[in-house]
């Protein structure tokens, strides 16, 4: 009986196996080659999406160079993308665990409502809050983030410990958070956002970079590092890939899922604060489709709805494609509604390619 390591696959043992200088096995070679091909195809999925974004930018730049590439428009594109990017970053973690979070837009709304109400209350009334100092503002910020975090924890606990499917749980909390926001406000948007807050965060800049964009960039980079380099990220992929394997490996799957949904909730709360600062009012009725925007961005960016696969860079591109399309269509004089048509088609194509990829690599 040979004690040589043999590559499985049905080929007989060969004597040359022992003579490979690096211990490489001839039988293993086609295997690894195919593996590498497939792995590079996987990563190039993100590359294709990136090239698509570049192509869109090039087309619009050629059609209307003066308008499209003006620094004003680039700034607008980035500001428009900031809140969507922050929601999509949280959604990336959730979808990699094979979950979904439909509640992001409602959590965003409720965080904004609570934040401004707290700012007004601490400042001593609606008339005083416009000129409120940083004290009331900070209390409001903490309250807004706390609301987001709290909803995220609620989502995570119900999903992981009560084992209710994420689609249903977050559809439920989507309705509850929005309904409560309406109850709290009587359905009428609240102004009275302190000027200091809106001018520093909403319309302010750090050097040439709008504060909103800076915050979104820092959050995205930090979340990307968290996802791709840390144990937290590794567990996120492992749970999405095979939650039973993760459990048997000693990972506290329930606790990790709670953390992931809490992160998504917290980022929704942050989105609510940015939105509040930017519009200087709550925007109760403007976020019903934020969840779909975030989910499409994540999926277009190459993250698999079935879990275990995805990348933060892809999500960034997935956020910018619709925003750039919308800006570009308006600039070239088309109705911006066409953006929704195109995004719908791109979304279906992205999921189709993910399916093809999964079928190609799953073999007995």
């Amino acid at each position: 009986m040979s004690s040589l390591p043999q590559a499985p696959g049905g080929q007989g043992p060969t004597n040359s196996a022992a003579q490979q200088p690096d211990g490489a096995l001839p039988q293993a070679r086609p295997e690894s080659f195919a593996t590498r091909l497939r792995d590079s195809a996987l990563s190039s999925n993100t590359l294709w999406i990136f090239l698509a974004l570049v192509a869109i930018i090039v087309v619009f730049s050629i059609l209307k160079p003066s308008a499209f590439l003006s620094s004003y428009d680039i700034k607008t594109i980035f500001i428009n993308a900031a809140v969507a990017l922050i929601l999509s970053v949280g959604m990336t973690f959730v979808i990699i665990t094979a979950g979904i979070d439909l509640s992001v837009g409602s959590i965003l709304v409720m965080s904004g409502v609570i934040a401004v109400k707290v700012m007004i209350a601490v400042a001593g009334g609606a008339s005083a809050s416009g000129n409120a100092g940083w004290g009331p503002i900070l209390v409001g910020i903490v309250a807004g983030l706390g609301v987001g975090l709290g909803w995220g924890v609620i989502n995570g606990v119900i999903i992981s410990m009560l084992r209710v499917p994420p689609l249903i749980v977050t559809l439920g909390t989507f309705g509850i958070a929005l309904g409560l926001s309406d109850v709290l406000t009587g359905g009428v948007d609240i102004g009275g956002v302190p000027t200091k807050f809106s001018s520093a965060v909403g319309s302010g800049s750090v050097g040439p970079i709008p504060t909103m964009v800076l915050i979104a960039a820092v959050v995205t980079i930090a979340a990307g590092l968290l996802l791709h380099t840390t144990r937290f990220g590794r567990y996120t992929y492992a749970i999405g890939s095979n939650d039973e394997a993760a459990r048997r490996a000693g990972i506290n799957v329930n606790l990790h899922l709670i953390k992931v949904y809490a992160l998504s909730g917290l980022l929704s709360g942050l989105g609510g604060l940015l939105s509040l600062a930017y519009f200087t009012t709550t925007t109760i009725s403007g976020h019903e489709t934020d969840n779909l925007t975030a989910i499409s961005a994540v999926v277009i960016g190459g993250t698999s709805l079935f879990g275990g696969v995805g990348a933060m860079f892809g999500t960034v591109i997935g956020v910018f494609i619709p925003v750039v399309l919308a800006s570009g269509l308006v600039i070239v004089g088309l109705q911006s509604f066409w953006q929704e048509v195109m995004i719908g088609a791109i979304l279906i194509a992205a999921v189709y390619f993910d399916q093809v990829r999964r079928r190609a690599r799953s073999r007995p």
Partner: protein, 259 residues
């Protein structure tokens, strides 16, 4: 109960009873494994192999009976409790995360972190894990060229190799392997048997659950036979033959009742 050489068992199960509803899967089953041996646990379908395996690997709890590890009674309340004792299990479904690479699977739940502040922040030492996992694959003769290839892209035999390397990297006392060759071809099976020998040669105890008797006779030192939820026979491999094993599995032979 010491064996002929005066060695005490590393794992001993005594009078294990486990029922599911009206089905008595184990009816006062016994099982013994000695240090450094390959002991095969065989039996026909429904004999209680899986249930007994799950009990000694901590996946399920028995209704009654005693489990001893190195002579001391132990509560095996979870796979983690078993792991703490140095017992690792290669489950039949392998329990791998297919989208992660081989190295990540070997270290799943026990990741290597970078030194210093980065490590405290939870930053993984991916290179360190890759190097160590590659070493584990080479040591066991598992033919995986690239430890950073996703497990989903590996063949059945290679996946088995990852799962065994994972168990062998962490087990300090015992590896339990549940039907490791059931889904494999001839060459791959031979590889797995070689891996089992290598693990045993490191001084670990291997509990091999199988109903492939030729495989068992090739690799085991000792064989215990379950029938209808009870141990009915134990053989040193030199005294065993397929006829004897079949006799024990089907009820023609019952050492323990006779004794």
């Amino acid at each position: 109960m010491v064996n002929a050489e005066g060695v005490a068992p590393i794992i001993e199960a005594r009078g294990i009873i486990k029922g599911y509803g009206h089905v008595q899967a184990l009816q006062s089953a016994d099982f013994t494994a000695y240090p450094g041996e390959v002991v095969a646990l065989i039996g026909d379908n429904g004999a209680g192999k899986s249930t007994l395996t799950k009990i000694i690997s901590g996946v399920i709890k028995p209704d009654a009976g005693e489990l001893l590890f190195e002579g001391r009674p132990v509560e095996m309340s979870s796979p983690l409790a078993a792991q703490k004792l140095g017992i690792e299990t290669v489950f039949q479904d392998l329990a791998l995360a297919p989208d992660l690479d081989g190295a990540a699977n070997v270290y799943l739940g026990r990741e290597m972190l970078k030194a210093g502040l980065l490590g405290k922040l939870g930053v993984l030492d991916k290179q360190g894990m890759k190097t160590a996992a590659t070493g584990a694959f080479v040591d066991l003769g598992v033919a995986i060229r690239d430890a950073s290839a996703s497990v989903v892209n590996l063949s059945g035999g290679q996946r088995q190799g990852v799962a065994v390397a994972r168990a062998a990297s962490w087990a300090t006392k015992v590896i339990i392997m549940d039907e490791p060759t059931a889904a494999l071809g001839v060459v791959q099976t031979e590889n797995v048997l070689n891996v089992i020998r290598r693990v045993r040669d490191r001084g670990l105890t291997v509990v091999l659950i199988s109903h492939n008797m030729p495989d068992v006779l090739k690799v085991a030192d000792r064989i215990e036979v379950l029938r209808l939820g009870r141990r009915v026979a134990t053989f040193a491999v030199k005294d065993a033959s397929i006829e004897l094993l079949v006799g024990a599995m089907t009820g023609a032979l019952d050492q323990e009742r006779a004794a």
